[in-house]
């Protein structure tokens, strides 16, 4: 028998009383070699910052190995690697900040390696279900050019999925609407 899914509802404005946990934004432990910080802001259709957002990352380590609940595939041996990060604060300035390592390549459709990417879930008040996007890396132009997912995105919009290098790591802003609207995926 096939059951129907439970519908989604908005995360609302008050998730910060329950969703944060200690070190939630540390996808790798502080001090991990080659750790980078990925930071950014979320913008609404007026360009205003959305401070009350909840954002989550899911990714493999630098070798392309996950820390998966099923034990699927080769498991990460990076000390303390969680693969998962969450940012959502009661009263922040609107910028999220994740500490992680740049992901390695993992197989995609047809067994071809995908370009390094991070799966991103974004929730907020005013959103009745999550939106999903992917972070790719602007400094991986060779593998990006042949990536089996990225190449399905209209060329003019691909740059919305590219994290730009900074001194501390990368910057990845998300625009919910407007000329720079981020590409969101039908998952």
């Amino acid at each position: 028998m096939i059951f129907e899914v439970t519908p989604s509802q908005t995360v609302g404005p008050y998730f910060a009383i329950g969703m944060p946990y200690e070190g939630g934004n540390l996808i790798v432990p502080a001090g991990t070699r080659d750790a980078v910080t990925i930071t950014g802001t979320i913008h609404d259709g007026r360009g205003d910052i959305v401070p009350d957002h909840l954002i989550e990352f899911w990714q493999p380590d630098g070798e392309g190995h996950f820390a998966d609940i099923h034990g699927y595939g080769e498991q990460s041996t990076l000390e303390g690697f969680r693969g998962f990060g969450r940012w959502g604060v009661e009263d922040g300035d609107g910028a999220y900040e994740m500490v992680t390592v740049k992901p390695g390549q993992v197989p995609g459709p047809g067994g071809r390696l995908q370009a390094p990417h991070i799966d991103v879930t974004l929730f907020a008040r005013g959103m009745l279900h999550r939106v999903v996007t992917r972070i790719y890396f602007a400094d991986e132009s060779d593998v990006n050019a042949s990536d089996s997912v990225l190449t399905t995105v209209p060329a003019a919009r691909r740059q919305t999925l590219l994290a730009q290098p900074t001194d501390a790591g990368y910057r990845f802003d998300i625009h919910l609407q407007g000329p720079a609207e981020t590409v969101f995926f039908d998952i």
Binding site: P7, I17, W58, G73, G108, R125, M127, V132, D186
Partner: protein, 266 residues
């Protein structure tokens, strides 16, 4: 017990069979390779004018189809990460005194759409107190805070996919969406599932709430049967005499894609 063994215990019957099944555990064969694509009407739309805050926060460009690859079919192990305390699933014992309100036990199972229980997955809740006020600095409406109630809890599902919380029945509360707007009483639920593709945040409602007909968030789900899946049921059999009322609520996350045609990647 290893994680792999834990998975299989949940599916097995009596002891001997569990031993047998454990030996053939296969993280490849036992991990769904693709998840069912949901029909659009199964979920509320991101653009829903009656809920005013959606106006500036919904994407206007079409979504791009994402094939399910290893990144989407895997998911985190959060048991160690969130550092679960014994009191995390009992929201009535997190402070010095007892919170005011109707004590309730909320329990149920987390299944996929094939009816398979999902073990070891993180279930998180947050809610208003009995007066309908959240212990959040931006909730400023004129109802009292309860010094003995924060309103947040978490637990992992057991081997049968079951979760349970003890808490206080939340009150309804007004909000600014339109004139005389009130939210039906609800508990926010966050479910990680066992794969990125299964992630869900939703709200659990209580039976026969008089605010249902007037709430745009509840009614953003167009299908009546789908709305009913967000409403818990009162269960006299699980009610604890002289202690607590009981409500049951099962959650269904997307299951494996059932046909190879469902997800052809062009």
């Amino acid at each position: 017990m290893s994680r792999a063994e834990g998975d299989k215990v949940s599916e097995g019957g009596a002891g001997d069979r569990q031993e047998e099944v454990r030996q053939i555990y296969d993280p490849v064969a036992d991990t769904p390779q693709r998840y069912r694509r949901e029909p659009a009407e199964a979920q509320p739309p991101l653009d829903y004018p009656p809920y005013k805050s959606t106006q500036l926060r919904h994407p206007k460009q079409p979504l791009v189809y994402l094939p399910h690859t290893v990144t989407e079919i895997t998911g985190p192990q959060l048991a160690a990460t969130v550092g679960m305390a014994g009191t995390d699933s009992d929201l009535t014992v997190q402070h010095r005194g007892e919170p005011i309100g109707e004590r309730i036990i909320v329990s149920g199972h987390v299944y996929d759409t094939e009816g398979k229980p999902l073990p070891d997955t993180l279930v998180e809740v947050w809610q208003a107190n009995a007066a309908g006020r959240y212990a959040h600095k931006w909730d400023r409406w004129a109802a009292p805070l309860d010094p003995n109630f924060t309103g947040a809890g978490r637990c992992l599902t057991d081997a049968d996919g079951r979760y349970q919380f003890t808490t206080i029945r939340p009150g309804p509360y007004p909000w600014g969406n339109h004139y005389n707007a009130w939210r039906p009483a609800h508990i926010h639920f966050s479910l990680l599932g066992r794969a990125f593709a299964q992630r869900l945040v939703t709200q659990m409602y209580f039976p026969d709430d008089p605010f249902f007909p007037y709430d745009p968030i509840f009614n953003s789900v167009a299908d009546e049967k789908a709305r009913e899946r967000m409403i818990s049921t009162f269960n006299i059999h699980e009610t604890r005499p002289n202690w607590a009322q009981a409500f049951n609520w099962d959650v269904y996350l997307r299951g494996p894609a059932s046909t190879p045609f469902e997800e052809s990647f062009e």
